[in-house]
Symmetry: C2
Subunit: 234 residues, 2 copies
């Protein structure tokens, strides 16, 4: 490029540099160096890139990380492309079906499902369960749905909760109502009757905070590799 070319394309080179950084990051999952940008955009000298990076920094579009290698950080990313805080691994503990206990949230998960962080108000301690059965269809939760459960000891009246019944040794998904010293576990299904149990056998394990359904089949949990087993991530 000719020296000192002053026209509106000068601003385009800065846009090209920003776009290059985004493309590089999407492909390599790391930041480029000044010389990688230079070569990628066919610029003769790294000092040209450095010049424009300093202008971009003055414009508040990037941040430089001292003299560190690959130390260029974008302050703004195009939608859906930012590297930060993207997915939270939630342990998938299995299916919830009447008569079967689910493991404690601290148990070794069967798999992990990765939820975008932006979808979660509070990502701590969540776990995932597959719903078996149709007892909650009137709450728009169906057989095969994946539910994300927030472990809490109590729910609001009428909230949908994962409940452990100590006397029956079973877990169930129901709406919870207190009636005197009994608990009414209410299905959301026209043909099913509620279950009345003494309050002391009811252990709330958590409430449903999210429902995920893939109409083409069961949503794939994340890859199943864990460091202790050494199996490969897919």
């Amino acid at each position: 490029m000719k020296r000192g070319h002053r026209s509106r394309i000068r601003r385009d080179l800065r846009q090209e540099i920003l776009a290059f950084i985004v493309r590089w990051y999407q492909q390599e999952r790391t930041y480029p160096t000044v010389r990688e940008i230079q070569k990628g955009l066919k610029i003769s000298s790294p000092s040209v890139v450095d010049y424009h990076l300093r202008r971009l920094e003055e414009e508040g579009l990037i941040v430089r990380v001292g003299r560190r290698s690959r130390g260029i950080r974008l302050r703004r990313w195009p939608d859906g492309l930012a590297p930060e805080a993207d997915l939270i691994p939630i342990p998938f503990l299995g299916s919830i079906a009447a008569g079967e206990p689910i493991p404690n949230p601290g148990a070794t998960p069967l798999a992990w499902i990765r939820i975008p962080r932006l979808w979660l108000v509070d990502g701590n301690g969540l776990f995932a369960l597959r719903v078996q059965g149709n007892s909650m269809v009137d709450a728009l939760v169906g057989d095969g749905d994946l539910i994300i459960v927030k472990p809490i000891p109590q729910v609001e009246e009428g909230e949908m909760a994962v409940v452990w019944l100590a006397d029956r040794h079973e877990t169930t998904l129901k709406r919870v109502y207190r009636e005197g010293d009994r608990i009414r576990l209410q299905p959301a299904h026209p043909a099913m009757t509620p279950l009345y149990v003494p309050a002391e056998v009811v252990h709330i394990q958590g409430k449903v905070v999210q429902v995920l359904r893939n109409l083409n089949g069961i949503p794939l949990p994340g890859g199943q590799y864990s460091p202790s087993t050494g199996r490969e991530d897919k």
Copy 2:
């Protein structure tokens, strides 16, 4: 650490290095240098780190990228933590409600929602819509749900589709049945009657492939920054 310390902790240092790289990447969204690993694990010399990295490479657990800075790549990542191919940006085009057209999928989206790539069989051309109304509750799709739509020109008999009615200038979400030269658009709601329309006014815009519901409120679409508008990512 004492020189030549030979015991089972030698293998643990390699595991520590791998774990450090994962932690560093989760936090910084870039790979660490040899000296950053050295300092982070309180090792006296970068050559110790280099020694173990060479062992890890021989074991097939990492790959080195020539003599490049930050050139250590893990071949396996713990579940849910791999940097690659995580989120697909899907354009959020607005709400689907009777009487209101939705924009063409190519239109400028109102926002973007980021879906884990693993959840999508085919990520091409998908778009997201917010459901308004309860006409499809018996298909377990309710008011406020976010649906992911795959643009296709035809659906199977009885599939749930986003349909544009040219004569009424409205979009609707219904199950689609062919009856002679008419189309029956069937709500999934006990109190609603189907709509019969001439086949030629029916334009299938896509079918629902995923339903996402956040019981705490409306799922947040991804950040709203786009390069052309310059607004800040949140």
